[in-house]
Symmetry: C2
Subunit: 311 residues, 2 copies
């Protein structure tokens, strides 16, 4: 990390003091130093957002700062990890103080809310690119892995799906009678950290829904070498998503659209009553490979393909 | 991390199996899981490289892969940390298989040489931007901090300075009679990990020279609230750098030019014989603030300003 980088990061971000005692040394040396509780492992994830790929040039910078951190914390939530530290790499075409302050407000606002410290970073001139590495702790052997689903497990989601997908359609011109909820779901997703922690010792497999329910559940099925059947009537949908489906007939949208950042997880039936409130049981893990959905008395196969940013 | 990202990272990078037993789960779940030895802390650093800022479009991709990892490992070396894991975020304008393979060869070649595992990453379409977060371990309380220099400490560098700076001048047209060493110093810096480990319990303060000897030693002086005097005749210079100075009179270049990635560190005089072989004593820490250099019988002040990528 170089001199001007400190200046920039310090000006907008470093006024927020570390919240975690284990983060001993933050921005300003060659490295940050972190400690882990005894008997704990470190969970690490990284995600990058690029202008015109993940967001538009006119994005609200506060929402962007929030979302950049949220998508990374969501990966930690999906492992059942307790997030405590993040690094931030900013590549910026120019220095726009108002933009940076608004971006920092969104980023640090969520960080403070979740007790996460910004422990280091890097700023560079160049096309707008934002990269975060997030770190969390979890008890040794306690991670919720994609590979851990078992035949007979019940499948849950932590909240409604399709809201962020509808938000994107609204941005693209869809006339929605209640646009606020879908737009907020797209712009300011809520990472399900509390739910991930509550699922330690309860869930078998877990993933966060970034590419779409079908695609992300598909990752669990692939890794666990199992299949699944969903019940269409049990998939939680908001009123605006129900309206969209009624008007278009496109009932697959909430299964395929990404960016919801709800958790999808599997739980052995006998532990169903330990699932946190607000989660919905939507199906069951089966031995037969593939992903199926039962809807209006018929069962059909869903292609486990989501949105891909590349190729 | 999303599906296509795995495909890309897996195709070029994941054929290299983890080398460290503590890296339990690598690329392919929501997060990677790492363990730290008992009584150890985690050191974390992040650095980004952007086309046309840190490298030119015609850069040799193998050298670029090497350098991207090297500059991050160099930050760990400067703390005395033992590097064990890195994440890589690639933003690529298009998929050029030959380029990617050459880049991966350079990156993984150095990773294998240093026993470091690539534990996760992210690939996105966009302007060429490369971001690494590197993690290392070190005994609790054992980090070599910038703030730890004491009056009377001897100042050392781990090798010659100015070679990478001369390499850049050669790229810009300087006719050098021996260009190989300076160009290699610029393109394929060697992170001084072994030296950093050997300095645990020996050095007080330590930093890696990325912004130039004067600027980086300046960080130690600022943080430690001390000053320093260097002896010009003791600063180790290669033959081509000596030639450059003879022909141009620009003797400050090796003090100001960046990118050498040698370590600069301070050691109490009584531990001077514990300094690793190949390091050079170039001066002393003094109580009087500021950075001075003694040259040809005269002492003058050096501005502690290096290359800044931004503003």
């Amino acid at each position: 990390m170089a001199l001007a980088e400190f200046d920039l990061i310090q000006r907008y971000f470093a006024k927020y003091a570390p919240q975690q005692a284990q983060n001993r040394l933050g921005i300003g040396d060659d490295c940050a130093l972190l400690s882990l509780p005894v008997g704990h492992q470190l969970a690490v994830t990284t995600d990058t957002m690029v202008e015109n790929v993940h967001f538009f040039a006119d994005v609200d910078p506060t929402a962007l700062g929030h979302k950049l951190l949220a998508v990374n914390l969501s990966d930690l939530a999906a492992m059942g990890a307790h997030p405590f530290a993040v690094t931030l790499s900013l590549t910026l075409p120019h220095t726009d103080e108002a933009w940076l302050q608004a971006f920092a407000d969104g980023f640090i606002g969520l960080a403070k809310q979740q007790g996460v410290d910004l422990i280091g970073g890097d700023t560079t001139a160049g096309p707008l690119t934002l990269s975060v590495t997030a770190m969390g702790s979890l008890p040794q052997g306690g991670a919720l892995l994609r590979s851990a689903a078992k035949v007979g497990d019940l499948i849950y989601v932590s909240g409604q799906v399709g809201n962020a997908g509808l938000g994107l359609k609204i941005k693209q011109g869809w006339a929605c009678s209640e646009p606020d909820l879908p737009l907020k779901a797209m712009d300011k997703p809520h990472p399900r950290i509390a739910e991930g922690l509550a699922l330690r010792g309860v869930a078998h497999a877990c993933i966060d829904i970034s590419d779409g329910l079908a695609a992300d559940l598909g990752h669990i099925l692939d890794r666990s070498e199992v299949g699944a059947c969903l019940e269409w009537e049990r998939v939680p949908l908001s009123a605006p998503v129900q309206e969209y489906i009624r008007l278009t007939g496109d009932w697959r949208m909430p299964l395929i659209a990404g960016d919801d950042y709800e958790l999808c997880f599997t739980v052995p039936a006998k532990r169903g009553d330990l699932v946190p409130a607000g989660c919905y049981c939507i199906g069951v893990i089966q031995a037969e490979p593939g992903l199926r959905i039962r809807r209006a008395g018929r069962e059909e196969t869903i292609a486990a393909k989501g949105y891909e940013h590349f190729f």
